[in-house]
């Protein structure tokens, strides 16, 4: 009788040894990209595969997840599940999600295939290709879930077209374009470690729990189902970093530089999430600050203590993020409130109950700094003068967010930084973004900056309306304040119909 194989042995025999050192073609030609970054790997066999997943198990587990998920998606559509959400304003978070996040899932799918093909260690290559499949899953399940909302709500119908063009969507797009145009090890540090391990919890966990709290059964289901893959991805990120740090001391400063860069790049991207959590969710689960403390400061803090033994320090800009945590979401909301006529989601005036919540969560900042502004805008809107800012904003060359962040030590002064490169001036929102530019100016001068592109006539015309049409925005439906929007009217109508139907039964 054959001896029984344990999980580790089975994985080892079925996976390790599949690859070989090529001799008819040189290994450096077969794997042309895994040396130029200066990362040194002496022994790929030292790689630990914590999950030891073989394809047969992968197919079975993922099939099971998909059966469950699609049962929910089908039943959600059949039962008009969109009527069960807490408040139609909630849906604006979902719009931002499919416009900004789903295309990144697709990019991750393509680029993890690149990484899986181009690093010569079979352990990480297998983990990376499973992640490539997973990321495709996330893009497709998000599309299939949100497809139902698209039938009833605005701002969703052109998510793919908009992602490559609309000003605020260049924030997530440029983030991922930046990662995939880097070498494979920088990409892994950027996405697997900095984003997946350190920051993705901030996107998925509180946001998805918030979706559940707001009655969005469809989103919470794909969100948590995607998150079950995420644990594998986080682990890949953690193992990559540890492995590279252990392989050679010379890797340490390279990784440190990437960590400094990608922490800040990811954190700036999460500005949109901060706004979602504190302003877009009608029923709130936790504040951005609380989430930041739980998922970055506590969990990340434990991790950086662990990495200290390799000589790795907490990312340089983490101190700034700490100072910003009680203002980030309000600063972001102010930007989007002013420019919502040019955005494919709605904003609105904040009611007193919501203000009270913000005041409670942000006692040091909200009443003093942000309430007066919200009150003023509310008054203006009530007087028929809803404030829209018609001037095109200046964007940060790196993160591409309009310049609306304040000085780390002075929340009343907008932070401007500048660099000169080959006679041209470039502008930044922070020391973090300026530092990233200064390290690699030849990369960031290429940025497709939406406002520059508009001025150069590449976005459909000179007027705001021309540009919005080029974005394929339905004017008066996708954009502007929630109040008085088609969605606002439809929502009341749907619910009147639904309650008449119930009464008739």
């Amino acid at each position: 009788m054959a001896k029984k194989l344990g999980l580790k042995q089975k994985y080892q025999m079925m996976t390790r040894g599949l690859g070989w050192d090529t001799t008819y073609q040189s290994m450096d030609k077969v794997y042309p990209f895994d040396k130029f970054e200066g990362i040194k790997v002496h022994d790929w066999d030292a790689w630990e595969d914590p999950f030891r997943l073989t394809m047969d198990s992968y197919w079975k587990l993922q099939a099971e997840k998909e059966r469950k998920l699609y049962a929910v998606i089908d039943s959600f559509a059949q039962n008009n599940g969109h009527l069960g959400i807490s408040d139609p304003r909630y849906l604006n978070a979902v719009k931002l999600f499919i416009q900004g996040v789903s295309p990144l899932e697709y990019m991750a799918h393509r680029h993890f295939a690149h990484v899986a093909r181009n690093i010569r260690g079979i352990g990480p290559a297998v983990a990376a290709q499973m992640q490539s499949l997973d990321e495709l899953r996330h893009a497709q399940t998000q599309i299939h879930t949100i497809s139902h909302y698209n039938k009833f709500f605005d701002g969703i119908h052109e998510w793919r077209h908009m992602h490559d063009r609309v000003w605020y969507l260049s924030v997530p797009k440029s983030f991922f374009d930046d990662a995939v145009t880097a070498g494979p090890f920088e990409f892994l540090t950027a996405i697997s470690f900095s984003f997946e391990y350190l920051l993705t919890n901030l996107l998925f966990v509180p946001f998805m729990s918030g979706a559940a709290y707001n009655g969005d059964l469809a989103t919470v289901t794909f969100g948590f189902s995607a998150q079950s893959d995420e644990s594998r991805h986080m682990t890949l990120g953690l193992e990559v970093i540890k492995f590279l740090l252990e392989q050679d001391e010379a890797n340490v400063p390279i990784i440190q530089r990437w960590l400094d860069k990608w922490f800040w790049r990811g954190y700036r991207l999460l500005t949109l999430v901060a706004m979602m959590m504190d302003y877009l969710l009608p029923k709130k689960i936790m504040s951005w600050q609380e989430a930041w403390e739980m998922y970055y400061e506590e969990a990340g803090g434990a991790l950086f203590q662990d990495l200290a033994r390799y000589g790795i320090k907490e990312p340089m800009s983490a101190a700034v993020a700490r100072k910003e945590k009680n203002r980030l979401s309000s600063e972001a909301w102010a930007i989007f409130y002013q420019y919502t006529h040019a955005a494919a989601f709605h904003t609105w005036d904040i009611d007193e109950e919501h203000k009270a919540w913000l005041a409670e969560k942000y006692p040091e900042t909200f009443d003093k700094l942000y309430r007066p502004r919200l009150d003023f805008w509310e008054k203006e809107a009530a007087a028929g003068r809803r404030f829209y800012n018609n001037a095109l904003p200046q964007l940060c060359t790196v993160c591409q967010i309009p310049m609306g962040f304040t000085e780390p030590d002075d929340p009343t002064t907008i932070c401007f930084r500048e660099s000169e490169y080959k006679g041209e001036h470039y502008h930044f929102c922070s020391d973090g973004c300026k530092g990233i530019f200064d390290n690699e100016p030849e990369k960031y001068v290429q940025s497709w900056l939406p406002v520059h592109q508009i001025f150069q006539g590449n976005c459909g015309g000179a007027s705001v309306e021309d540009v919005l049409k080029w974005y394929r925005m339905n004017l008066g439906a996708d954009n502007l304040d929630f109040s008085g929007s088609p969605e606002d009217k439809f929502w009341s109508e749907w619910h009147r119909t639904a309650s008449r139907a119930e009464a008739a039964e």
Partner: protein, 333 residues
């Protein structure tokens, strides 16, 4: 939430699908999950930066192949697979395969296989786990450099399939060697050093450095797979079927064989679509096919000779002829 069953005007959808799908359909009507899952999914404009590792290209770039298509999204997958249907189908296939393996193991059926034939099977089947790993890398490369999700979604599924095939073959080895792994070590040694495998290994290594991703698609999926699967699952298998226990080998290789039949439908649809687009495309594909199928046939000849002896040459010729016939139906001259 109460279930609302009533159909009234105001609960009707305001639109039926996404704008890009409606434009392709020419009307706003309900779309299939397959279409919504892949049409226009890849970014095609306004990339922010060029890859520092390949500054001559955009992040995705049509110039990565000489093939030209007016619309790459016409290259549809006839299986209409998206992630959920892919995994559900594969999990069903792999469960069937596992039951067969378990059946063989439980009854000790490998011991019934003619000893000489068992050695032969190990010598031709098990080194193919490395061929499959090469195919896995090539599928990843196509997924990496291809243009348009219509093609790169199924190529990513193929990458999973090829890893799965490599692992399935590994399981067959473990079945033969009582889970010691000795047969897998021997197969790797054969792949690296046995004279009959060197031409094939060289061909796989040559494919790993092909730059044009559609040439790679033709080389791997039509030419190399056409020769290798045809020889192994038809001719080699047939040679053993009359021997004691020969059926056992047929049974445990059912999974790759069934998979290949399904895979062929998709590969043929893609190639047919590319060839039908223009004479230029047809010329390129024909040239690549002629080159790679000839090399693949030559590379497998020593393996065929070892397995089939005097019948090796005829088997290779028959497989090549059948493959050329298949190619002709796809418009390849």
């Amino acid at each position: 939430m109460t279930t609302i069953e009533i159909k009234t005007q105001s609960l009707e959808p305001r639109r039926h699908t996404f704008g890009n799908i409606a434009r392709r359909y020419g009307a706003d009507k309900s779309a299939s999950r397959y279409d919504e899952s892949m049409l226009d999914l890849q970014a095609d404009v306004n990339f922010h930066y060029r890859p520092i590792w390949a500054p001559e290209y955009e992040i995705f770039d049509k110039a990565r192949t000489k093939i030209e298509m007016a619309d790459w999204y016409t290259l549809r997958d006839p299986r209409q697979l998206y992630y959920a249907t892919y995994n559900i189908q594969r999990s069903q296939m792999v469960q069937g395969a596992e039951q067969q393996l378990a059946f063989v193991e439980k009854r000790g059926l490998v011991d019934t296989v003619d000893a000489g034939w068992a050695e032969t099977v190990k010598s031709y089947l098990l080194p193919l786990r490395h061929f499959e790993w090469g195919a896995n890398l090539n599928s990843l490369q196509i997924t990496n450099y291809g243009w348009g999700a219509a093609v790169t979604v199924p190529t990513c599924f193929e990458a999973g399939d090829r890893l799965g095939m490599a692992q399935h073959i590994s399981k067959i080895g473990l079945l033969f060697d009582g889970n010691s792994g000795d047969s897998l070590d021997a197969a790797k040694d054969a792949w690296m050093n046995a004279p009959e495998w060197q031409a094939m290994r060289k061909l796989v290594e040559d494919s790993l450095v092909v730059e044009d991703w559609f040439e790679l698609f033709v080389a791997q999926n039509l030419a190399m797979d056409g020769i290798v699967y045809g020889l192994v699952h038809d001719h080699f298998d047939a040679a053993g079927i009359a021997k004691p226990g020969g059926m056992v080998v047929t049974m445990v290789t059912e999974f790759p064989k069934t998979w290949f039949a399904e895979q062929t439908r998709w590969v043929d649809a893609v190639i047919k679509g590319v060839v039908a687009e223009s004479a230029g495309n047809a010329g390129l594909v024909s040239g690549w096919f002629a080159d790679w199928s000839k090399k693949a046939a030559e590379a497998m000849r020593p393996v065929a000779d070892k397995v089939l002896g005097a019948d090796g040459a005829a088997a290779v010729a028959a497989v090549s002829a059948a493959l050329s016939e298949r190619a002709k139906k796809l418009g390849i001259g």
